[in-house]
């Protein structure tokens, strides 16, 4: 059954990519949806089978690599984490596939799109199911490749192709970290299998040198890999540009699944990370800073997809923060809820874009609530979920992370403060998005050369949205924090579910005692209420600022009085320009130097001069080769005679 989960999307990709007739869009769409839906059904079976026993199960495929003592079998593992992940990937993947059929209706080469999409699902499943780092790496690279292909799906426009290239290259930087991590792991532990590494770490009561130092570098390398995939500072720059792809791709890859690979990988290797507290501090700081950094950029963006993209970066920052403070369960829980509401938001934005005939600028929208009632409803749910309104899923997951950050012994309150501010920003920009798009007065197109009446999308586009909206509300209740759950006599189901997987190695118990220590519930209540208050305040401000046109009040006041700050945010802190100036341009100059001077002059020059030298000297040596047939014949004869003479004696 587990193999079927992998086989279905691969088969779909092959069918759409190579075998099926390419003209029928309905066929391409049907095959793609059937492949992912089949995988989802199989994943459900696998998960239920696992859930009944709660024992992780290894599935041995074949012996993939073997060199000396090194072996890397093609082996899959189903446990709490990968079982959950395959459900997210195939479940949300199915909804997005259904939706994509409507969104891509006007495209010509839909078969290519769906082949990539199915291939992506396959690669992501491989990533989460692999039981060793190498199989995971195959999936890791595979999703990077699919991401490149899909971002550049409309490659006729150069900007899109460049965005794909950028995503690929930035991801490569992270991949190098991941690779170095694999190498170091093998060097110190002699294996790359998760289950073996896990039991090794579990059995070690204390870690003597060189392991603590080695673990620091290993985890740091892996974290660099996670930064690349999960778009953390300073490697986040590819994700906003990745919005060049079709919106369903943004929903599937750049919100719900692929970008969570970094979080997933760190959770998989949580036993390493727990044993390396120094790395964990770095992880926590990077996560918190990313959350705030991206949230502030999102405050002023006008492209609806760009806002969502920066919000994704920010939410990923929360998850990394959760990992950094040791609350891997909270990180994975936020991954789950975020997958639901971010897919919902992206698909909702896609519906808006679709209805507006590929208009993405929010300043040109407004008052769409009347035209797109269903989309408006589900978007409202999504926004409430992401900003953390009590009762919606984001509330439970985000507050859990903030709480765990607060009790982190090193700089805990500071980390909490950063996350708290980011939550406020999130509330502001998400409500701003909602107001600009759905409320207020409709935008009057002065030129009005294409005055289309926005219309609601067909059922197979809003259907998945409704399902996602229900999920965005529902999944939150799986992870109600303990102190709230105790009120009704329950406990945190999600943390309990992951308990068997995420454990603190014996050697590192001392550093993480606070996670299980008793804390005053009043403190927890207080933090929760303060964040609710902040969210309410920020959302209210946004409503006040943006509901009516022209934009007035605080926003214009701030924009007018702090023009430089406003411009800085609009320019996304000019990080791209800085990278261009400090990294890309020098690299290009060095490369040009290497090419023009070192390669052409020195290396080619050496080779050419050797050639010229040989030609010159051989010219001297070949003066007897006149081309005269007589001379050649004579020497043949002379040689024959000499051989004869020699043979006589």
């Amino acid at each position: 059954m587990i193999w079927m989960v992998l086989l279905f999307p691969l088969l779909g990709a092959l069918l759409n990519g190579f075998l099926l007739p390419r003209r029928s869009k309905l066929l391409s769409h049907g095959v793609a949806v059937a492949a992912v839906a089949g995988a989802f059904a199989c994943a459900c079976c696998v998960f239920l089978e696992f859930f009944a026993t709660r024992h992780s199960h290894l599935y041995f495929g074949f012996n993939w690599l073997q060199a000396g003592k090194f072996t890397a079998p093609f082996e899959l593992v189903v446990d709490q984490l990968s079982g959950l992940m395959i459900l997210i990937i195939t479940g949300i993947g199915t909804l997005i596939h259904i939706y994509a059929g409507g969104y891509m209706k006007e495209e010509v080469t839909t078969y290519r799109f769906f082949a990539y999409l199915n291939l992506f699902v396959f690669m992501m499943l491989l990533l989460v199911l692999g039981n060793n780092l190498l199989v995971m790496f195959v999936g890791w690279e595979g999703v990077g490749l699919c991401s490149y292909l899909l971002i550049g799906y409309w490659f006729q426009e150069e900007a899109n192709a460049k965005a794909g290239m950028k995503a690929f290259l930035v991801n490569r930087i992270g991949d190098i970290g991941f690779l170095i991590g694999i190498f170091l792991t093998y060097k110190h532990f002699g294996t790359v299998s998760f289950s073996e590494l896990s039991s090794w770490m579990n059995l070690m009561p204390t870690l003597a040198e060189p392991y603590p130092k080695a673990l620091f570098w290993i985890t740091l390398s892996f974290f660099i890999g996670a930064c690349g995939k999960s778009a953390q500072l300073p490697l986040y720059v590819w994700l906003p540009d990745a919005m060049a792809g079709p919106t369903p791709v943004s929903a599937l890859i750049h919100a719900a699944t692929m970008v969570t690979a970094g979080i997933f990988m760190m959770t998989r290797l949580s036993f390493f990370f727990y044993a390396a507290p120094d790395t964990m501090l770095i992880v926590a700081c990077v996560g918190a800073l990313t959350a705030l950094f991206a949230a502030t950029i999102a405050l002023v963006q006008t492209d609806i997809k760009k806002v969502l993209a920066y919000s994704t970066v920010s939410q990923l920052g929360y998850m990394v923060l959760a990992c950094g403070v040791g609350a891997f369960d909270a990180g994975v829980f936020h991954l789950l809820t975020h997958a639901c509401f971010k897919a919902l938001l992206f698909l909702g934005a896609g519906s808006v874009i679709f209805a507006m005939h590929h208009e993405q600028d929010m300043r040109r929208m407004g008052g769409l609530r009347k035209h797109l009632p269903i989309t408006h409803g589900v978007m409202l749910v999504g926004v409430l979920a992401i900003i953390g309104v009590p009762g919606f899923s984001g509330f439970f997951s985000k507050d859990e992370i903030l709480w765990k950050a607060f009790i982190f012994p090193t700089y805990g309150p500071i980390l909490w403060g950063i996350g708290f501010l980011a939550a406020g920003c999130t509330a502001f920009y998400m409500v701003r998005l909602l107001c600009l798009t759905f409320y207020g007065t409709p935008y009057q197109d002065k030129s009005a050369h294409h005055h289309h009446h926005p219309h609601e999308t067909p059922w197979y586009m809003w259907g998945p949205l409704v399902v996602l909206a229900l999920l965005s509300i529902g999944v939150g209740y799986l992870g109600v924090p303990d102190f709230l759950a105790h009120l009704v006599g329950g406990h945190n189901l999600f943390a309990h579910y992951l308990e068997g997987l995420i454990y603190i190695p014996a050697s590192a118990q001392g550093a993480w005692g606070h996670l299980h220590a008793e804390h005053a519930h009043e403190l927890e209540w207080g933090l929760m209420l303060s964040s609710v208050a902040l969210v309410t305040l920020a959302a209210g401000t946004a409503v006040f600022c943006y509901t009516n046109r022209p934009v007035r009040g605080v926003a214009s006041f701030l924009g007018g009085h702090f023009p430089r700050l406003h411009q800085l945010l609009l320019d996304k802190y000019r990080v791209d320009e800085c990278y261009q100036r400090k990294i890309v341009t020098p690299l290009a100059e060095i490369s040009t130097f290497l090419w023009q001077v070192v390669d052409v002059r020195v290396i080619n020059g050496c080779v050419n001069w050797v050639g010229y030298l040989l030609m010159g000297t051989s010219g001297i040596a070949s003066f007897r080769m006149t081309g005269s047939l007589h001379r050649y014949g004579f020497w043949v004869l002379a040689g024959t005679v000499c051989v004869l003479i020699i043979s006589c004696f």
Binding site: T626, S628, F634, L637, I645
Partner: protein
């Protein structure tokens, strides 16, 4: 004993005529002297009891191959070859190597001692019959292959000699 004298007589003719082949500048005269050489050799074959070989020597060599040479000479309308220095080596070196080779072979021959005398009556009365039997029984497959070879040579010579239909490389 008269056959022995005939042998030396024709041997002398063959050597002189072949020297003429390589020394005369007129190609037609050279071709005619080649015919003389071949015929003298045919006579030697008769003396050696190989009548069939003598016959095909005259028919094929003198009759067909040399005619082919003559045709080509006439077709190309070749005149006298002009006197000129041969680039590449000195004639004295050539002579030296030839004499060296001859000397070596003679020395080798002498060091081996006398060959055993030939089988008496080796030349059968019906030489043609025996050669035919050998050709069509034991050597049947080589014979057939030889016919294939000659067909290939025919095609190849036609292909090589026909007028080029493509522009010459550096013409």
């Amino acid at each position: 004993m008269v056959e022995v004298w005939f042998f030396y007589f024709f041997a002398a003719i063959a050597v002189v005529a072949s020297l003429g082949v390589i020394l005369l500048r007129n190609p037609v005269a050279a071709a005619m002297l080649l015919v003389v050489t071949l015929c003298a050799l045919a006579a030697e074959y008769v003396l050696l009891g190989a009548e069939f070989s003598a016959a095909i020597q005259v028919l094929v060599y003198a009759g067909a191959i040399v005619i082919l040479f003559t045709f080509v000479i006439m077709m190309l309308n070749l005149g006298q070859e002009e006197v000129g220095q041969l680039a590449g080596f000195s004639k004295w070196a050539l002579l030296l190597f030839m004499l060296g080779g001859a000397g070596v072979i003679l020395i080798q021959r002498l060091s081996m001692g006398a060959l055993p005398p030939g089988v008496p009556g080796g030349a059968a009365s019906d030489n043609t019959y025996e050669v035919g039997m050998a050709l069509f029984t034991k050597y049947l497959w080589p014979f057939e292959l030889a016919s294939l070879l000659i067909l290939l040579a025919l095609i190849a010579s036609v292909v090589i000699a026909r007028k080029p239909t493509f522009p010459s490389r550096d013409a």
